[in-house]
C-alpha cells in the first residue's frame, strides 16, 4: 500500500488546471465534491427546518390560521392548515432531513473532504466515480422538489412509507405521483451513496500514505470506513425495496399489497366485503382477481417493513458513526490529550456496525411480526447500547485530566456527548418490548430521534464545520459568534425537544395533526398543551438563531481572518496540507511515523506531535 501511494503522485504541479466547468461543476477533486455536498446539504437543512416550523405551528395553534402563508395555501380552510397538508409535511420533513441533509453531510461532505487528506493521498481512488456520486444527487433534488407540485402534493405516508398506504394511489393524497417521485428520488440518493461508499472503502484500503497503518488512522477515517462498509451491505436491500415499492405504487405489481383491499372507501354493505376478503385470503381466486383488475394481488405489507428497516436501521448508524468519529478527533485535539482507548473505540464502532444488522426488528415489535422473534430482537437491540456506552465513557475520560480549550468546535463536540447520552438511554425504553407496547409510535420516539439525530449528528456536523472550516476555506470563523450560536442552539435544543419525552410518556401519539383533548382529564390536557407550546416556541427560536451561523459562515468565507496551516495544533495529516489544500492536496506525499493522538507527550516540549514529524530520538508512545 505504502508503495502504491509513494510512487508517481508527487506534487500538484503534475496536474493541469481544469477549466471552471470542470473545476467547480463536474469536479473530480474530492474537496470540491465534498463542498458540493456541504452546500446542497445546508440548503436542504433550511428547507427541512422550515417544514419543522410549519409542523410546530400546527401543533401549538391548531385553531388559528397559519400566519403569512395560510391564506394562499389553504384558502378553502380559512387559512388553517389541513390535516392532508400536515401529514405531507411531517413525511417530507423527516425524508429531507434524513436522506438529503444528515446522510449527505456526514458521508458526502465530510467523508469526501477528509478521507484523502487524513490518509495522505491526493484524491479518492476513483475520482470520476466520485463525481458521479455527487451528480446522482441533483436528479434526487429535482424529484423531491417536484413532488410537492404533483396533484395531491408530496408523499404523505411518513418517511417510512409503509404500504399499503404508500402504494395504493387512492389511500392518501400524496400516494399518487408524489409518492412515485419519492421512490425515484430515494433511488437516486441510494445510487449516490453506493458509489461513494465503494470509493471510500477502496481509497482507505489502498491509498494510505507510507507509514499510515490501519491502526494509525484517525477515528474520523475509521468511522467513515466502517460506515461505507455498512452502506455497501445495506443499500442494495433498500434499492430493491424501493424498486418494488415503485412498481407497486405504479400499480404494476403487488409485492406489498394483499388481496382485496378497498382503500379510501368506507363500505357499508359489510358482510359482502368481509367475506370476499377472507375468501381471497385463500389462494383460489387470485387468477380471477388478476383477470378482473389487471393488478395482481397477494403480497405482504410486512415484507416492506423488513426490507426497509434492514436498510434503515443500519442507516441510523450511518447517520451517527461519522459524527462519532469526528467528535473523537475534535475532543482529543481540543482537550490536548490522547484519545482514551483508541482500540476499544475502533472495536466498538465495528461492534455497532455488526450488531446494527441484527436489530432491525425493533421497529416492528407491534407490527404483527412474530412476538417470539420480537424477544430476540429485544436482546440484540439492548446489547447494541453496550458499544455506545463504551464510546461515551471513553469520550468523558478523554476530557478528564485534559487541558481543554473551550472553543466552538470543542463545545459542539461536548454537546454531542451530553446529548447522545440521553438519546442512547431513551433507546432502552423502546428496545424493551414490554415498555415499547406503550412507547411505540408516541412522542417518546420523536424525542429519541431528535436527541440522536439533532443532538448527536447535527451537533457533530456543527462541530465538524467549525473545526475544519479553516482547512476548507482557508479562513477562520468568528469565535465569539460561534459561541453565541452554540450557547443558544444548545439551550433551545433542550427546550424544544426534552419535553417530548414527557408528552410521549403521557401517551401523545406521533404524526397526529392535532394533539388536543386527551381523555384523561383537564390536568392531563393542560400539561400536554403546556409542553406543546414550550416545544413549539423552542423550535421557532431554535430555527431563528441559526441565522447567526449562516451569517458567520458566509462572512467568514469571504472576510474571516486568514487561517494558518494548522490553527488548532492538531496531529493528523489534513493539517499538514495548506489551508485550503490545492488540487492534489500535499506538496509531497507525507510519511507517517505515529498515531494521530500524541498530545501532551511529557518528553516533547510542545503539547502536540504531528503524525509526520520525525523525531531524532525514539520516545515511548501510546500506540504505533
Amino acid at each position: 500500500m505504502a508503495e502504491h501511494a509513494a510512487h508517481g503522485h508527487g506534487s500538484n504541479g503534475h496536474h493541469q488546471e481544469p477549466s471552471f466547468l470542470f473545476k467547480y461543476v463536474f469536479a473530480t477533486d474530492h474537496k470540491v465534491i465534498g463542498l458540493q455536498f456541504l452546500f446542497s446539504g445546508l440548503v436542504f437543512l433550511v428547507l427541512g427546518g422550515l417544514l419543522a416550523v410549519l409542523i410546530r405551528v400546527q401543533l401549538a395553534f391548531p385553531d388559528y390560521a397559519v400566519p403569512l402563508i395560510g391564506n394562499y395555501l389553504f384558502p378553502s380552510n380559512a387559512g388553517q392548515m389541513t390535516p392532508q397538508f400536515y401529514t405531507m409535511i411531517v413525511s417530507m420533513h423527516a425524508s429531507v432531513m434524513i436522506f438529503f441533509v444528515i446522510i449527505p453531510l456526514l458521508t458526502g461532505a465530510f467523508g469526501n473532504y477528509l478521507i484523502p487528506l487524513q490518509i495522505g493521498y491526493k484524491d479518492m481512488a476513483f475520482p470520476v466515480m466520485n463525481m458521479l456520486s455527487y451528480w446522482f444527487m441533483p436528479p434526487a433534488f429535482i424529484f423531491i422538489l417536484l413532488s410537492f407540485f404533483m396533484e395531491g402534493g408530496a408523499a404523505a405516508a411518513g418517511w417510512t412509507s409503509y404500504p399499503t398506504l404508500s402504494v395504493i394511489r387512492s389511500a392518501a393524497p400524496g400516494s399518487g405521483y408524489g409518492q412515485t417521485f419519492w421512490f425515484l428520488s430515494l433511488l437516486c440518493v441510494g445510487v449516490s451513496s453506493l458509489l461513494g461508499s465503494i470509493n471510500y472503502m477502496t481509497t482507505i484500503i489502498n491509498c494510505r500514505a507510507p507509514g499510515m497503518t490501519m491502526f494509525r488512522l484517525p477515528m474520523t477515517t475509521w468511522a467513515m470506513f466502517i460506515t461505507a462498509t455498512l452502506q455497501a451491505f445495506a443499500l442494495p436491500v433498500l434499492t430493491v425495496a424501493l424498486l418494488m415499492g415503485l412498481l407497486d405504487n405504479l400499480e404494476i405489481t403487488a409485492f406489498f399489497v394483499p388481496a382485496n383491499l378497498e382503500a379510501n372507501t368506507i363500505i357499508q354493505s359489510y358482510p359482502r366485503t368481509i367475506s370476499t376478503m377472507f375468501e381471497a385470503l385463500g389462494m383460489e381466486r387470485f387468477a380471477e382477481k388478476m383477470a378482473n383488475t389487471g393488478r395482481p394481488t397477494g403480497g405482504q405489507p410486512l415484507m416492506w417493513q423488513h426490507l426497509f428497516w434492514f436498510y434503515s436501521h443500519p442507516a441510523v448508524y450511518i447517520m451517527i458513526l461519522p459524527a462519532m468519529g469526528m467528535v473523537s478527533d475534535i475532543i482529543s485535539t481540543h482537550a490536548r490529550k490522547p484519545l482514551f482507548g483508541y482500540v476499544p473505540m475502533v472495536l466498538s464502532v465495528a461492534g455497532i456496525a455488526l450488531l446494527g444488522f441484527i436489530v432491525w426488528g425493533h421497529h416492528m415489535f407491534m407490527s404483527g411480526m412474530s412476538p417470539v422473534l420480537g424477544s430476540v430482537f429485544m436482546v440484540s437491540t439492548i446489547m447494541i447500547a453496550l458499544p455506545s456506552a463504551i464510546k461515551t465513557f471513553n469520550w468523558i475520560f478523554t476530557v478528564l485530566g485534559g487541558n481543554v480549550r473551550f472553543n466552538t468546535p470543542m463545545l459542539n463536540a461536548l454537546a454531542f456527548v451530553s446529548l447522545f447520552i440521553i438519546g442512547g438511554l431513551s433507546g432502552i425504553y423502546m428496545a424493551s418490548t414490554p415498555t415499547d407496547i406503550h412507547f411505540h409510535d408516541t412522542y417518546f420516539i420523536v424525542a429519541h430521534i431528535h436527541y440522536v439525530l439533532f443532538g448527536g449528528s447535527l451537533f457533530g456536523i456543527f462541530a465538524g464545520i467549525y473545526h475544519w472550516f479553516p482547512k476548507m476555506f482557508g479562513r477562520m470563523m468568528n469565535e465569539f459568534w460561534g459561541k453565541v450560536h452554540f450557547f443558544l442552539t444548545f439551550l433551545l435544543f433542550n427546550v424544544a425537544f426534552f419535553g417530548m419525552h414527557n408528552i410521549g410518556i403521557m401517551g401523545a401519539p406521533r404524526r397526529y395533526a392535532d394533539l388536543r383533548s386527551w381523555i384523561e382529564g383537564q390536568d392531563y390536557n393542560s400539561v400536554m398543551m403546556f409542553f406543546n407550546h414550550l416545544i413549539s416556541f423552542g423550535v421557532f427560536l431554535l430555527f431563528a438563531v441559526q441565522i447567526i451561523f449562516v451569517i458567520n459562515f458566509f462572512y467568514s468565507i469571504f472576510w474571516g481572518p486568514k487561517a494558518p496551516k494548522n490553527p488548532w495544533q492538531s496531529n493528523s495529516l489534513e493539517w499538514e496540507a495548506p489551508s485550503p489544500p490545492p488540487h492534489g492536496n500535499f506538496e509531497t506525499i507525507p510519511v507517517v511515523y505515529r498515531g494521530p493522538y500524541e498530545y501532551s507527550h511529557p518528553e516533547v516540549e510542545q503539547d502536540y506531535l504531528p503524525q509526520t514529524l520525525k523525531l531524532d530520538r525514539p520516545i515511548q508512545e501510546g500506540h504505533h
Partner: protein, 282 residues
C-alpha cells in the same frame, strides 16, 4: 469560562429532572391510568428502567461536567498523558454488559405474557373472541356476537365470515366486561392501522391481509370503582399513520362494571339488532 460552560452543560440534567418532576406532579404519575393486569408489570418495568437509566444519566452528565471544569492542564500546563487503561475498559465493558443483559432477559416473561398467543391459550383455553375489530380509513368497526337465548350466554359467531344473523356491528365503540380476559380479532380493510388502548396497555398493528388475535383485560377495575352508570370509558386510538385522518381515528372502549352488566347490555343490543330489517345490510 470553563465554569460558565460547566453550568450550561449542567442545565441538561437539571432541566431534564425538572421537567420530569413537573409533569409527574401535574399528572400524578406520567403514564395514563392503568386498569389492566399486564399494565402493572409494564409500568413496573418502566420505573425499573427509569431508575437505572436515570442514575446512569445523572452520573455520566455530572462526570462530563466535572471533567470539563477540572480539565485545566494541571500536569505542568499540559494534560495528563495517557492512552487509556485496560482495566478500566474491561471493567466498564463487563459491568455494562451485565446490566444490559439483565435488563433484556428480565423483561422476556412479561413480553411473553403480553404477546405469546399460546401462553394466553394455555391459561385461558376457552375464552371465545368477543369481537372482530376491523379498521378502515378512518374508523373502527367492531362486530360482536349476538346474545344466544337458548344457551343464555353470548353466542358463537363465525369471526372468519360473520354475518348479520350471528353478530351486530358498531362503530368506534367496543364493549367489554371488567375483570375478565377479553380476546378480539383484529384486521383492516385498507392500510395499516394500530389498535391502541393506553389504559389497557395494549397496542397491536392491524395488518392488511392478516387477522391478528389480541387480548387484554380491565382486571384492576372493581365494581365499586364505577358510578351509577355502571360503565367507564377509555380512550382507544389509532397509533400507526394511516392517512390524513389518522389523528381523528379515535374511539372508546366501554368497560361494564360486571359480567352481568355486560350481558345485560349485550342482550339489549341483540334485541335491537334483530328488530331492524335484515336487508338493511348491517
Amino acid at each position: 469560562m470553563r465554569y460558565f460552560w460547566g453550568v450550561i452543560f449542567l442545565t441538561v440534567p437539571l432541566v431534564g429532572v425538572a421537567m420530569f418532576l413537573y409533569s409527574y406532579v401535574r399528572t400524578s404519575g406520567w403514564l395514563p391510568t392503568n386498569v389492566s393486569s399486564i399494565g402493572d408489570e409494564i409500568d413496573f418495568l418502566f420505573y425499573f428502567i427509569l431508575a437505572i437509566t436515570g442514575i446512569v444519566f445523572l452520573l455520566t452528565e455530572l462526570l462530563l461536567v466535572y471533567a470539563m471544569v477540572t480539565a485545566t492542564g494541571r500536569n505542568g500546563g499540559k494534560s495528563s498523558y495517557t492512552h487509556g487503561s485496560k482495566s478500566l475498559e474491561i471493567s466498564w465493558t463487563v459491568l455494562t454488559a451485565a446490566i444490559l443483559l439483565f435488563i433484556a432477559f428480565y423483561q422476556v416473561p412479561t413480553w411473553a405474557r403480553a404477546k405469546f398467543f399460546w401462553q394466553f391459550r394455555e391459561k385461558h383455553p376457552d375464552v371465545k373472541p368477543t369481537a372482530l375489530v376491523i379498521a378502515s380509513q378512518f374508523q373502527w368497526e367492531t362486530r360482536q356476537g349476538l346474545w344466544d337465548e337458548e344457551s343464555n350466554k353470548p353466542g358463537d359467531f363465525n369471526w372468519k365470515n360473520p354475518n348479520f344473523r350471528d353478530s351486530f356491528v358498531m362503530y368506534n365503540e367496543l364493549h367489554i366486561p371488567a375483570g375478565e380476559p377479553v380476546l378480539i380479532y383484529l384486521t383492516t380493510r385498507d392500510v395499516i392501522h394500530s389498535f391502541w388502548v393506553p389504559s389497557l396497555r395494549v397496542k397491536q398493528d392491524a395488518l392488511p391481509g392478516a387477522v391478528i388475535p389480541v387480548w387484554f383485560d380491565a382486571a384492576k377495575l372493581r365494581p365499586e370503582d364505577f358510578g351509577p352508570e355502571k360503565t367507564k370509558e377509555f380512550e382507544w386510538v389509532c397509533a400507526e399513520l394511516c392517512g390524513w385522518g389518522h389523528y381523528r381515528m379515535r374511539a372508546k372502549v366501554v368497560v361494564h362494571a360486571t359480567k352481568e352488566d355486560y350481558y345485560a347490555w349485550l342482550k339489549q343490543k341483540s334485541q335491537e339488532h334483530l328488530t331492524v330489517k335484515p336487508d338493511k345490510g348491517i
